[in-house]
């Protein structure tokens, strides 16, 4: 059991974050909390991608010194994906927040249930 935890602790953490984010999105009524849930979900996905590419005792894939061996380097492809995904995540959060601002100005509330009742 302990060795299982030690082997998969990053996967467990990453999917824990994803499940927490999904739970918030499914259950909460406040739009700001739903957006926070989206952010947590985003972080979990990024952490999962990075931990898939990890190699035990690996270093960053940069040949800044000559004595670094290429055997010890972690996979660069997931890192490149996550690098852009973080910035895209920020942009998507900003867009969602701007929509939340507009919704609040229009309905006077951020409660999704009330917004659904009011319609127009």
């Amino acid at each position: 059991m302990m060795s299982f935890l030690a082997d998969y602790i990053y996967y467990i953490g990453a999917f824990g974050l994803i499940l927490v984010g999904l739970y918030i999105i499914l259950v909460k009524h406040n739009l700001i909390k739903v957006i926070i849930g989206l952010g947590i979900l985003d972080t979990g996905v990024n952490l999962f991608l990075i931990s898939v590419g990890y190699i035990t005792k690996g270093t960053a894939p940069i040949f800044s010194r000559a004595e670094i061996e290429s055997e010890q380097m972690v996979d660069p492809v997931p890192q490149a994906l996550v690098l852009t995904a973080i910035v895209i995540g920020i942009a998507v959060l900003a867009l969602a927040l701007s929509l939340a601002i507009r919704l609040y100005q229009h309905y006077g509330t951020l409660n999704l249930r009330k917004i659904r009742e009011q319609r127009w």
Partner: protein, 226 residues
């Protein structure tokens, strides 16, 4: 009721995920392409930072798409927030002298650090996206500390457009000189020096300007609204 259904759904998802994840070992090399990039990356692209060579060279077209997504998100935010009526809120209280001076002192240092991060993207950890985010954080500091200061919208839009245009034009030059889009047509030079890796630093500088000005304009739109 709703939370019970949600928890049941999440348990099903979690069981499915854990059953599939138990087959994926942790901490071992899984893809062959990653090993290929590490072995041949420096030789083929001239960039010692393999992540940069993947982002800008091997998957440069992909990065162009990602930059476009960021651009569309920025445009969408501007369209959503600036459309319709604009009501002026009450006047803001000016920040204290210490805060005001501190922000103005730190701002150029943050800009220099951000520029360093994206100019040295092919040598050290960093690159256009990170450097752009650092520069935007400098603008955020100015917005928080010096309330009445605003970025120059024309200059910001110009930097954004020029950054995107440089990326596409360099890609088209590759098409002219070598036959495919985003070909590394400049000389690669010696690895681990500033003037190496051909088009990679040029594209990363363009991305740095583009991301920095886009995030700064997102901050500007959100601050204007509140």
């Amino acid at each position: 009721m709703r939370s019970v259904v949600a928890i049941l759904l999440l348990i099903i998802v979690a069981v499915g995920i854990s059953m599939s994840l138990a087959k994926i070992p942790f901490g071992t090399q899984k893809t062959k392409i990653g090993g290929y990039y590490i072995d041949k990356g420096v030789e083929e692209t001239g960039s010692v930072n393999i992540v940069t060579s993947v982002v800008v060279n091997y998957r440069g077209f992909d990065t162009l798409g990602e930059v476009t997504v960021l651009f569309i998100a920025s445009i969408g935010l501007g369209a959503v927030l600036t459309a319709g009526i604009k009501e002026k809120t009450g006047k803001t209280q000016p920040a204290s002298l210490v805060l005001y001076t501190g922000c103005r002192l730190l701002f150029p240092l943050i800009l220099v650090f951000g520029s360093y991060t994206f100019i040295h993207g092919h040598l050290t950890p960093g690159g256009g996206f990170q450097g752009g985010a650092i520069i935007a954080s400098g603008f955020l500091l100015i917005y928080l500390g010096c309330r009445e200061r605003r970025i120059n919208r024309v200059a910001s839009n110009l930097a954004e457009s020029l950054g995107g245009l440089t990326f596409v034009v360099i890609g088209l030059f590759g098409l002219i000189f070598g036959g495919y889009f985003l070909l590394n047509f400049l000389p690669k030079g010696t690895a681990n020096t500033l003037f190496s890796a051909g088009i990679i630093p040029v594209i990363y500088i363009a991305i740095g300007f583009k991301v920095g000005s886009e995030l700064a304009s997102i901050i500007d739109n959100l601050v204007e609204e509140s």
